[in-house]
Amino acid sequence: MRYVGKGACPPFFRRIRFPYPVLELTTVSVPTADPASPVSPPPVVVARGLTKTYDTGGAQVHALAGVDVEFHRGAFTAIMGPSGSGKSTLMHCLAGLDVPTSGTVHLGRTQITGLRDAELTLLRRDRIGFIFQSFNLLPMLTAEQNILLPSQIARRKVDRDRFDRIVDVVGLRDRLHHLPAKLSGGQQQRVAVARALLNAPEVVYADEPTGNLDSHSGTEVLEFLRSSTKEMQQTVVMVTHDPVAASYADRVVFLRDGRLVDEVADPTAELVSARLLKLEEA
């Protein structure tokens, strides 16, 4: 993808928090998708018949009991469900962090189930981005070093323009040389978002990215994620239990007892809350 570089973000935009300055990430040639219906392009991630069984002292626990799901390019999908519904396990299996007991996961044309650990490592390094709930950053590296870390691990050349743009968009320009301990929770998560987006991975997995943030910082992070899907055709899969967070997504899938039980497109917080409540009551 090619983007127009405009150098540093004008101070004017930096002061404005909302609406998020989407202008900065405008794509020149808008690829395939019609921004209005981001669900239509071919799926980037496809999972078929995923099961995951844990042995806990004789009793078998089915964390995943046959999940079929797909995620499309440029889509922002939220995975929701009550505690213990298997949403984190699903994400870990999709991301190649965990190995499902059965079923397949494809990332693009690659079937990632069955890959060896070394191959999975390369896959994560080159094609997947991660944002975790907390402890996202290495405490001994500065914000900039943290953002650049995956590229350095991969010995990839960094696209400096893209780096500058992302840094400006997430508003970290004057924090680049700070250690994480000197950053607020919101700033730390923004560093994590910048890191995940820098390499334009095929898919970004976010595990409760706003779980530890106040609502203001949370909104900020979610806005970044959403605009990245809109403006950069970035595919984002987010696990959350917060209906407000889920409402930023294009689509919400609901999980209960390891099964996909519901799905909502263009969700609102109220709608998601109601569905979730129904799920928990059932």
């Binding site: 984190s88 975790f132 405490p139 590296l141 995956p150 010995r155």
Partner: protein, 885 residues
């Protein structure tokens, strides 16, 4: 509270594995030393007691009153006295032991030993007996001390040549071997055994050095010894066999005490290092369990209870690992005695001796060190505010604060003080006190390292990090990780610094000594062979002089035979100086050598002692030696090539108050004086020592000394070494007692002696280093535990397992390199200071090859230390680590 502590210990037991190992190893060394020394001592005692108990009474000449400093003549028991003892009704049989000395020739026809072995005879009623074969029964038979036979390579049945009193060869058949145990003279010089008549033919002997008696039936050993005492009166000291055995055993006890002390010194070092490791482990464990401690406080535990809980934990760990250490020590001590005992002259296997002292010492040292090391961390634990429990992950945030300015200043002051102390030793001359000062300086500097440790770690990592960062992400992360808790890193590496300092220091001293002595041989006085007569220790009572001049030790050392320690031999050489029958190289040998065209120069050295107002003057001359050409020396003043008739070269105490051009007056025996002009004053530790005269002046002053005490031979340049060797050996063919040393042999011997000492010391220090590596491994393991989530994050971001392992490996190697690096720098500096403080004219030498080996070992140690932690980190499941806190 006790229950909480023990539950905590059970839960965290894997974290204590390396700590337990560190304590265990230290304690093992301590109690192993005790068991080894005890067993060895018991073994010696058994040997000695066994032989002594075979007779019932032992009479030795009582030592005559030594009036003043005069060395008393050795008193002997007479034949009449032996007859008296034999006539006693209580005595079944009695025999005397006769000692002399005789030159024993080896298979090549050269004399054995730097001094001739003791020639001894004893009858059947003495405490000695043949261990193998039979005792000599006639003039054609001989027995040897078992150790002598082994050294010289003779077995029973061989033909053995011994020189008689007139230095004529006489052949004997070796019929038996005698075990003399560890009794000083016999074991040090070696012993040949004849029957009494033959001994009297072979050597000049008069009486008996010992009379042993066995009891007639119906008499106790006490009665026999009383009777013998009554018969011999004041001329003899009489004991029962058992009493005599106890007395002998005391003598050997002194030997083992030395060994025990040295080994305990090394165990002290090991325990010290273990203490550092334990301290660091507890400090980290407590930092990690801050929340746990705070929770305890929250639910109502008092500060003192938390403190006690931590101490109790250390006590439990200390007791357990000390107990294991004592057990291991018993095993090691026993193994040491079983394998090392025979090498140290202990006979046969002896039951392992585990004294209560060994157990108690091991237990208490281990426990006390552990509890003591945990004191500071325990104090720190009490300072955890209860609210810390509510905060998240207190440890994960933990990037340590910088080193305080007070710390930096104090550390810098330590280094300054240390440098000042070293400078002090450089100003004053060499002395033993300086060695103490240098040690103190090293300790002060070491304190500086402890204080500045975190700062040093950060500084060094910054420098080493520059190239390392370029080599990839794992190295970059390792560099960053290694300075995350500099204090922890510093504590881990300091344990290694101790060992590295000691080993490097010793290797520098050793290399410098070797270089210095070799330089003296090669540059100051280049020769190829040295010929000396065998020194006679025996009659006529060549008593060792009180004064053993220290400055001639280096030179004497070049002539050393391996079994003669330098001091002894220097003393032996001095003892004969000036005596009327100075053993000398026969003039004929010198003449033959001088005629040989292969030999360029044949130089002699003669010496005499002159009593002057300022004490004894050592007066030397070098014959046929061109000063400044054949021999050079570093001078304080003047030039030794100005030496000539009527001139003198001075050194050391004899040069006090003189300068070049002054007139030196040498008092002569006949009452006259010799006035000489001072040509040069040489520095200490040179080939020239004392007062050196020109050979003409020496001949005038000491006309009775006409032959050379030492002869030095230098071959024509380019001559075939084999031909030269043959020429020199041919010249001494008819004089088997002359000791021929080739300088290259001397150098080889010197370096092999120094090497053996080095490897022994290195082996002893190895344990301390192993403990330090455990400490580093432990620190790494605990850090890995602390960074579980971080490692998982890195793995999620695409860091391969191998890269993660490499990251930890590089971090451990960095730590080891810093520790070893500081140690090496300290070792070089203080090795130089210590060497220069004691040895004048030391040629400072840095053993680069050895240091390279140390650095390579440090890298290997780092890799070894990282193996387990790295496996653990790479093996952790990513999802599990991300989920759990």
């Amino acid at each position: 509270m006790l229950r909480t502590t023990l539950a905590g210990l059970r839960l965290h037991k894997s974290r204590y594995v390396t700590t337990v190992l560190a304590i265990l190893l230290g304690v093992m060394f301590v109690s192993g030393t005790m068991v080894f020394a005890d067993t060895l001592e018991a073994g010696y005692e058994k040997t000695v007691m066994g032989s002594a108990a075979s007779v019932d009474a032992v009479a030795v000449p009582s030592e005559p009153d030594s009036g003043g400093s005069e060395e008393p003549e050795e008193a002997l028991l007479t034949t009449e006295q032996l007859d008296e003892v034999r006539a006693l009704p209580e005595v079944a049989g009695a025999d005397g032991v006769v000692n002399g000395e005789a030159v024993l020739l080896d298979a090549d026809g050269r004399a054995f030993g730097f001094v001739p072995p003791v020639a001894v005879s004893f009858g059947e009623h003495t405490r000695f007996s043949a261990e193998e074969g039979t005792l000599p029964g006639n003039g054609g038979e001989i027995a040897l001390a078992a150790s002598t036979a082994e050294q010289i390579g003779f077995a029973v049945g061989d033909r053995v040549t011994v020189l008689d009193r007139e230095q004529a060869k006489r052949e004997f058949t070796l019929t038996g071997l005698v075990e003399f145990g560890t009794e000083q003279d016999y074991s040090f010089r070696g012993a040949v055994v004849f029957d009494e008549d033959t001994l009297r033919e072979m050597a000049t002997v008069e009486g008996y050095v010992e009379i042993d008696a066995t009891a007639a039936p119906g008499h106790t050993d006490q009665q026999v010894s009383d009777a013998v005492a009554a018969a011999l009166g004041s001329s003899a000291e009489v004991m029962t066999g058992d009493e005599f055995g106890v007395k002998l055993a005391e003598g050997t006890g002194a030997d083992t005490l030395m060994l025990r002390t040295v080994l305990l010194l090394f165990s002290f070092i090991a325990m010290f290092v273990a203490g550092i490791v334990i301290h660091n482990t507890f400090a980290i464990l407590i930092a990690q369990r801050q929340r746990e401690m705070a929770l305890l406080r929250c639910v109502g535990a008092k500060r003192s209870q938390v403190f006690r809980s931590v101490l109790l934990e250390s006590l439990a760990v200390g007791l357990l690992s000390s107990a294991l250490g004592v057990l291991a020590g018993v095993g090691v001590g026993y193994a040491g005695a079983a394998f090392g005992g025979p090498l140290l002259g202990m006979e046969g296997a002896s039951a392992v001796v585990v004294s209560p002292t060994a157990m108690v010492l091991g237990m208490s040292v281990g426990t006390v060190v552990t509890v003591f090391s945990a004191l500071v961390p325990a104090m720190r634990a009490t300072r955890v505010p209860p609210l810390a429990a509510l905060r998240t992950s207190a440890t994960a945030a933990g990037l340590e604060k910088g080193t305080g300015r007070v710390r930096a200043v104090f550390g810098a002051l330590c280094f300054l003080a240390s440098a000042a102390l070293v400078a002090l030793t450089r100003m004053s001359g060499p002395s033993e006190t300086n060695l103490v000062i240098v040690t103190a300086a090293a300790l002060v500097a070491f304190t500086g390292v402890v204080v500045l440790g975190p700062l040093l770690v950060r500084g060094i990592v910054r420098v080493l990090g520059i190239p390392l960062r370029r080599t990839g992400v794992p190295s970059m992360l390792a560099v960053d990780n290694s300075v995350r808790s500099p204090r922890r890193a510093a504590a881990a590496m300091i344990a290694l610094t101790v060992g590295a300092t000691l080993i490097t220091g010793y290797s520098v001293v050793s290399a410098s000594i070797e270089r210095t002595l070799t330089a003296q041989l090669e540059e100051q006085f280049p020769i190829d062979y040295q010929i000396t007569p065998q020194m006679f220790l025996g009659e006529p009572a060549a008593a060792e002089p009180e004064e053993t001049s220290a400055e001639d030790a280096p030179e004497e050392e070049t002539a050393s035979e391996e079994e003669a320690p330098p001091e002894e031999e220097a003393a032996a050489a001095d003892g004969t100086v000036g005596a009327p029958d100075v053993p000398a190289v026969p003039a004929e040998v010198v003449r033959v050598l001088r005629e040989d065209p292969l030999l360029e120069r044949v130089m002699g050295q003669r010496s005499a002692a002159v009593e002057s107002d300022n004490g004894t003057l050592w007066v030397n001359t070098h014959t046929s030696t061109r000063f400044g050409e054949d021999m050079t020396a570093d001078t304080v003043e003047g030039d030794i090539s100005d030496m000539g008739p009527g001139k003198v070269v001075l050194q050391g105490a004899s040069a006090d108050g003189f300068s070049v051009g002054d007139t030196f007056t040498l008092p002569l025996d006949d009452g006259g004086e010799l006035s000489l002009e001072v040509a040069a004053i040489t520095e200490e530790g040179q080939m020239l020592y004392g007062v050196t005269l020109h050979e003409d002046d020496f001949a005038r002053a000491f006309p009775e000394i006409t032959s050379d005490e030492y002869v030095y031979v230098r071959a024509v340049p380019g001559a075939d070494p084999a031909d030269v060797r043959e020429a020199v050996h041919d010249a001494v063919e008819d004089h088997p007692t002359l000791q021929v040393m080739s300088v290259s042999e001397v150098k080889e011997q010197l370096s092999s002696i120094l090497d053996i000492a080095f490897y022994t010391i290195a082996a002893m220090l190895a344990l301390a280093i192993v403990i330090a590596v455990f400490g580093i491994s432990n620190t790494m393991a605990l850090s890995v535990l602390e960074r579980t989530r971080e490692s998982a994050l890195l793995r999620a971001l695409g860091l391969a397992k191998g890269q993660l392992r490499r990251m930890l490996g590089v971090e451990a190697v960095l730590l080891c390199l810093i520790g070893a690096g500081i140690g090496i720098v300290f070792g070089v500096v203080f090795g130089w200071a210590a060497g220069a403080a004691v040895l004048p004219g030391l040629e400072f030498t840095v053993p680069y090859a050895q240091i390279a080996v140390f650095i390579a070992l440090a890298v290997l140690a780092g890799l070894a230390a990282a193996v387990l932690p790295a496996r653990r980190a790479a093996g952790t499941s990513i999802t599990g680590a991300l989920a759990g806190e």
